[in-house]
């Protein structure tokens, strides 16, 4: 096993000073569901591991009708899944978090750890993009807010800079009532998605007023399929339009071959699953 120093700061301020002191030698841990696997496989060998579990109120979930949902980065997936305002106002999030791995992992892994890892295979990012979420990045020098679709930079790379921590996720009040989430897991229901699709839509008299489409497991980052959205936005919703949107979505993705399927198969899936998700979301919207 790797030898490392383990620190449990009790305030964010102390966490920042530890981060500044140890720089690249340090790694942040919350639930550990991602970091520990990488450490066991020797992909990461930090000298210092800084735990955020003792920072007060870091897992707080609050909801205000005007402001929306604010999720502390330390909230675990299971708490978000079961949160009453999430169930009531953000059924897409409830549905998405319900499908993450299995309860033992959902009880450990945190949303901050999930997003900050920048793993394109995981589920929450796509649904949060479909809900216009933004993340708060904090350092000793101050705070900044980044749209989640701009937060994901590349494979396991995010907009987080040295000394920064992801501290909060903000999801504005939901503006599009139609939603759908498809997690395609043909091997085991507990697997990562072969393809994941999250969509929200607002319709009026058979026309798409607005739409958001997020996908996971289809590229080096979680994808916000803006071109596909543009196909449908402001247009009458027809079967042909939905097919075209799904077709365009597949051009925005660059899947790779892995043990869940070939790139070619995943492109086929995107075309089918985006269309199906859109159909369901439109149905829910009206």
């Amino acid at each position: 096993m790797i030898r490392f120093d383990y620190q449990e700061p009790t305030t964010l301020k102390k966490a920042f000073s530890l981060l500044e002191k140890h720089g690249d030698d340090a790694r942040v841990i919350a639930g550990g569901t991602s970091l520990l696997i990488m450490m066991r496989q020797r992909l990461l060998m930090p000298k210092v591991v800084i735990s955020l579990t003792r920072i007060p109120k870091f897992d707080r979930i609050t909801y205000k009708p005007n402001d929306g949902l604010r999720i502390g980065a330390g909230a675990c997936h299971r708490d978000i899944e079961l949160s009453p305002p999430v169930k009531k106002h953000y059924p897409l999030l409830h549905e998405t978090f319900r499908k993450v791995a299995q309860p033992r992992i959902r009880n450990m892994g945190t949303i901050g750890g999930n997003l900050a890892a920048g793993d394109p295979l995981t589920d929450p990012g796509a649904s949060l993009i479909a809900l216009d979420a933004e993340v708060t990045l904090t350092s000793s020098k101050g705070q900044r807010t980044v749209r989640l679709d701009e937060f994901f930079v590349d494979y396991y790379q995010t907009a987080l800079e040295a000394g920064e921590l992801l501290t909060e996720i903000h999801v504005p009040p939901p503006e599009r009532p139609g939603w759908s989430h498809i997690k395609f897991t043909p091997r085991s229901i507990e697997d990562f998605a072969t393809v994941g699709v999250a969509i929200t839509v607002k319709t009026s008299d058979g026309t798409c007023e607005d739409i958001r489409l997020g996908l996971n497991s289809v590229a080096s980052t979680i994808v916000h399929a803006k071109k596909a959205e543009a196909v449908l936005r402001g247009k009458p919703i027809t079967e042909a339009a939905l097919r075209e949107m799904a077709e365009v979505a597949s051009t925005e993705c660059e899947p790779t071959d892995d043990n869940r399927g070939s790139a070619e198969y995943k492109l086929d899936l995107i075309k089918v699953l985006v269309r199906r998700a859109a159909e369901e979301a439109v149905q829910r919207a009206s």
């Binding site: 696997i37 066991r40 496989q41 299995q102 395609f184 043909p186 091997r187 085991s188 229901i189 507990e190 697997d191 990562f192 043990n259 399927g261 070939s262 198969y265 086929d268 899936l269 089918v272 699953l273």
Partner: protein
């Protein structure tokens, strides 16, 4: 030690260290499932033993999951099988030709035996007159292979049960009828000499037909939905190792009247200890709560082969029953003196011993055991029993009745295939098993459900990916296994059956329901959408490709 086969482990360690077997003691720890992987194909214990001897200190070896995939318990033998079958127009099987190429991996252990099972075991399932088999086992640079639940039989049933399904479709006969026409029966002897002493395969077919509502579902077929069926046969022990397919056990009666079984066969999570206690209790005429069983320990028990080949309920069950008969005889001799009766007039029931018809004047087992012990020429009541199955070590042509008893089963499934993604959803599974008398119902249900779960994993989920001889998915994130939530709705039942050579009519069950599942699912997929994927696992991508090719 975390093993299914203590005495084999002792032999291997003694050989490796160059010491007498008596100098090695193996005590079984709580084994959380064996499935063949802990039956001495691996070298973990040898490494620990050599290190311990060198260091003169205790050594504990724990593999990481990755090490376990690379060099721990071995994967099953990969096979490529070609089947050619001939049928009469009425559906009777006329002949079967099988060509097997089996991938041994880098070092050989049980792979020759496993290939033999794949080549011939299934001939015991249906009434065959003519079979021709060519099986080749080849060395490759892959991870060495070994025993895994089914021992070659899942590979064979995957191939042969699909050939039979193709035959049924070609002949225009309901696959269930075709199975019924050809099903083995009591008295059948397979072309290689397997002798069937009990067989309720036809009853199993009736049961799955009813459970899954086969006829109505076939008559009312829905688009992209299909039914599949396969039959299965397995052994109850296999005569293979040193011309011995037996077991032995010792039972001692404690002063409080409770019985303790000493057995070296070992428990690996399948519930065999409970079954052994139930068998001893039944024979002794005492409540099952009054029987306990020791942890397996090579210093305390007589030689036992261990847990493999679905053998323990049948082979070890018979040995325990014989030991109990021996002990009961001793109890009755002592009790006869005390009751002034003849031993042969005594019976025991609910822990009491009395003269038939005179239950009012009874003795407890404790009364009798204490009376036998605390007196001049006193002695404890203790007795052993042995059993060696009436099977035959196969000769050079592989002829010979390989097991004392054969267990049978039928599985049927209804699946739905998504034509746009290739995804398979199992709507319903029906399983009927003939394991003779069910000794321990909860454990037996567990074997059925666990076998089916692994069968589903084998069919749809699992697959070792090899590059340059090494597994490249050596963890449970990349190598997925089925979870509880992946199990389909399942109905299962046990046939009314009695194996005349089994303990109270029982025979094996452990591997039976892993064997046919992949074929059942693929037969159902064929019925649903008319394509047949020919390699495992059956992934949705392969199905979608086949659907596109079909057009």
């Amino acid at each position: 030690m975390n093993t299914q086969t203590l005495f084999n482990a002792r032999y291997r360690i003694a050989s490796a260290l160059g010491v007498p077997e008596t100098d090695v003691r193996i005590i079984q720890t709580a084994v959380g499932g064996g499935f063949g992987g802990k039956s001495c194909d691996d070298n973990n214990a040898l490494v620990a033993a050599v290190l311990a001897k060198k260091a003169r200190k205790p050594v504990k070896l724990i593999n990481t999951r990755e090490e376990e995939f690379l060099a721990g318990c071995r994967p099953r033998v990969f096979m490529k099988i070609n089947v050619k079958m001939g049928f009469k127009k009425d559906g009777h099987i006329r002949a079967k030709e099988l060509k097997v190429i089996a991938d041994n991996g880098a070092y050989s252990a049980k792979a020759p035996a496993i290939t033999g099972v794949a080549a011939m075991r299934h001939d015991t399932c249906y009434k065959y007159s003519d079979v021709k088999i060519e099986a080749k086992l080849v060395y490759t640079n892959k991870v060495p292979t070994g025993a895994f639940r089914g021992f070659g039989n899942p590979s064979a049933e995957w191939a042969v049960e699909q050939a039979i399904d193709l035959g049924a479709h070609a002949l225009g006969i309901d696959p269930l009828e075709l199975a019924r026409i050809n099903a083995a029966e009591v008295g059948y002897v397979s072309p290689h000499g397997n002798r069937v002493t009990s067989c309720e395969l036809k009853q199993c077919l009736d049961r799955v037909e009813e459970m899954i509502d086969w006829k109505a579902k076939r008559a009312n077929k829905q688009p992209n939905t299909g039914l599949g069926l396969a039959c299965t046969v397995h052994v109850s022990g296999k005569r293979h190792f040193g011309d011995y397919d037996g077991s032995s056990a010792t039972i001692k009666i404690n002063e409080d009247g409770k019985a303790l079984i000493l057995s070296g066969e070992g428990e690996c999570g399948q519930g065999v200890h409970t079954a052994m206690c139930a068998i001893a209790a039944e024979e002794l005429g005492v409540p099952v709560e009054d029987v306990e069983i020791s942890r397996a320990d090579t210093d305390l028990t007589t030689f036992c082969l261990g847990a493999f080949a679905s053998r323990l309920t049948y082979v070890s069950g018979n040995a325990v029953k014989n030991a109990a008969t021996n002990v009961k005889q001793q109890l009755f001799e002592q009790a006869a003196e005390m009751l002034e009766a003849n031993p042969q007039d005594l019976i025991s029931r609910d822990g009491k011993i009395f003269v038939k018809g005179a239950e009012g004047k009874s003795l407890t087992v404790s009364d009798v055991a204490r009376a036998r012990l605390f007196r001049h020429n006193g002695a404890p009541i203790v007795g052993s029993g042995s059993f060696d199955a009436d099977s035959v070590l196969p000769d050079a042509t592989r002829f010979g009745n390989e097991s004392g008893a054969y267990n049978y089963g039928a599985q049927a499934a209804q699946v739905q295939v998504d034509p746009e993604t290739g995804q398979v959803k199992i709507l319903q599974f029906a399983v009927a098993s003939d394991c003779g008398t069910v000794i321990y119902p909860l454990g037996a249900e567990g074997q059925v459900e666990g076998g089916l779960a692994q069968g589903i994993g084998y069919a749809l989920i699992e697959g070792l990916q090899i590059d340059e001889g090494r597994p490249i998915n050596p963890n449970f994130s990349d190598y997925r296994i089925p979870s509880m939530r992946d199990m389909p709705p399942l109905q299962h039942t046990f046939a009314d059956s009695y194996e005349p050579t089994g303990p109270f009519g029982a025979k094996g069950l452990g591997e039976l329901n892993m064997d046919p599942t992949a074929a059942v699912i693929n037969n159902a997929i064929f019925d649903a959408v008319g394509v047949r994927v020919k390699t495992l696992p059956i992934t949705p991508e392969k199905i979608l490709r086949a659907l596109k090719e079909k057009g």
